[in-house]
Assembly symmetry: C2
Homo-oligomer: 149 residues x 2
């Protein structure tokens, strides 16, 4: 069921709420709902995979409009690593992208860093930096001994 | 002149101090000084250009050791965009990389997002996400009308 427009003004009471709305809006191709997640700050920054730095709400909106112009994207945030500080949150997310190719369904991965800050109106995104990961393997190296050894 | 080891424990009293030390350490190829910039948190995250996500201080150290193994890198942070919140700071940086090629000196650009948090010991880096920009042109799109029109 599509989200009613009234949800665009919903209070994002936590970084998780803001992140959920961000990815739902991308999956729904809902540009207004997506932009409602962003802080109203001239220096918000967005980097799409392989792309330039995009600075400011108007330019960020234009970049997402272009990204969504070929339809919604089946993206799911997974393996979230969180650093929460007072009034801010950094989420490192592996974005699973499901695509249907001529050879059947495939899974791709995007590595994204999402930064949220607490404003008087709730939590808002101030940075989204995404870059291409590996096509199949989970693009991660950790301190975990089983991976290092 | 190389930085004496004593500097590794210097108080980083602002996000700018931490960022300055980070890039100086990369230019000097000084791994200990570089790692002193990072927060001691299991979920710190580093993404090098084209690379996987690296999580945790040990894995981040190993990744920088590999990066610096072929020598120091002539990198200068430029065009910094800042979003400062209470106790945290997001810096979007265009890293200018100067390299000497067979065809003479060339300039490359890396787009990086650096996130710092205030700890009881001063400001520390919790995330560094870098991805390749354009080889010559400054990789930026802004709200500024002169760029959009």
């Amino acid at each position: 069921m599509p989200h009613p427009k009234a949800h665009a003004a919903a209070l994002m009471a936590s970084p998780e709420d803001a992140e959920t709305q961000f990815y739902e809006a991308v999956r729904d191709g809902d540009l207004d709902r997506l932009m409602a997640v962003w802080a109203d700050d001239d220096e918000v920054v967005c980097v799409h995979p392989g792309g330039s730095r995009v600075v400011g709400p108007q330019a960020v909106r234009a970049a997402f409009e272009a990204l969504l112009s070929s339809g919604a994207i089946v993206v799911h945030p997974e393996h979230v690593k969180r650093v929460h500080a007072m009034g801010s949150a950094v989420h490192s997310v592996l974005e699973r992208i499901d695509v249907l190719t001529a050879d059947g369904p495939r899974t791709g991965w995007i590595v994204a860093t999402n930064v949220y800050v607490k404003t008087s109106e709730g939590w808002r995104m101030v940075a989204h930096h995404a870059s291409p990961g590996a096509p199949d393997e989970i693009p991660e190296i950790t301190d975990t001994p089983s991976v290092l050894h």
